[in-house]
Amino acid sequence: MKETQPLRFARLLQMVRSMEADMGISALNKSEKVLFTCVGDLCLGADSPVNLIQIFAHPDVKKMPQVTVYKCLRDLRAKGLLEHVGGRGSGLYRLG
């Protein structure tokens, strides 16, 4: 992959986040990280949405209480890492 300026900066941020994670002061808690990774896993592309049924069916999310999943979705949206797609009740999310 060609090293562009934005990619270099993203890698620098990734390095800093790894330090945060090791120090236990990461911006995402464990559940948020799991959910974020799952959505990333389920997305076919950067802009393709994922629906709630697919998220709940993911092996890593199946073990999480529903309340926790909804809370994490809300928190990840507040942090700008996920976006809600469509109208109220659409149940569609994509990476922010």
Partner: protein
């Protein structure tokens, strides 16, 4: 062409700025409260962070961004009159130690450059920075041999080593703090 030169200019600027901070703020504080050899080495040498990050991100080419800053500092801003005839060695050693460290690891089969890995973690970077610090310490101590008391050579070597490593670690912490602040401000 601009997209290729800009990162080098940024590396040069950051390296020079941190050197100014080092020589005009940190060194005076340390010489007031530190040991006798601290006019040569600092216990918190923050420019080492830029050396390591620049080489990690830009590859060996970063040497040509770091060297001019080192030359400006050692020849014009903070020249050491005792280094007669050896002036050029210190900037070359300082700018090149990180490149040598990365290349040594590459020769041994472990490529730590940013382009070689898909995931960026701070631990390998810290390891390479520590090795770069060892290289810098040994070579700088050899340059200053004869200019300081022989019994203080080990102290100087230790000072360089600790200074570079602490500067790298605390510099990374400061960088982490700044990025968190930016993230918090952006979220508001």
């Amino acid at each position: 062409m601009t997209t290729k030169i800009t990162p080098l200019i940024i590396a040069f600027g950051c390296y020079l700025a941190l050197h100014f901070l080092q020589f005009f703020v940190i060194f005076p504080l340390e010489s007031k409260y530190g040991s006798n050899v601290t006019w040569l080495a600092s216990l918190f040498f923050f420019p080492h962070l830029v050396r390591v990050l620049a080489v990690w991100m830009l590859g060996p080419l970063a040497f040509f961004a770091l060297l001019p800053a080192d030359i400006i500092i050692h020849f014009f801003i903070h020249p050491d009159p005792q280094l007669a005839g050896r002036h050029m060695i210190i900037p070359i050693v300082g700018s090149g130690c990180a490149v040598i460290a990365f290349e040594l690891f590459k020769l041994s089969g472990i490529n730590f450059y940013m382009t070689a890995t898909s995931i960026s973690n701070w631990r390998p970077l810290f390891l390479v920075g520590a090795i770069a610090s060892v290289i810098n310490s040994i070579m700088s101590s050899l340059v200053y041999q004869g200019l300081i008391m022989p019994e203080e050579t080990l102290l100087l070597l230790g000072n360089y080593l600790v200074g570079d490593i602490l500067g790298l670690f605390i510099g990374l912490l400061v960088l982490m703090g700044l990025i968190r602040l930016l993230r918090l401000n952006a979220a508001r």
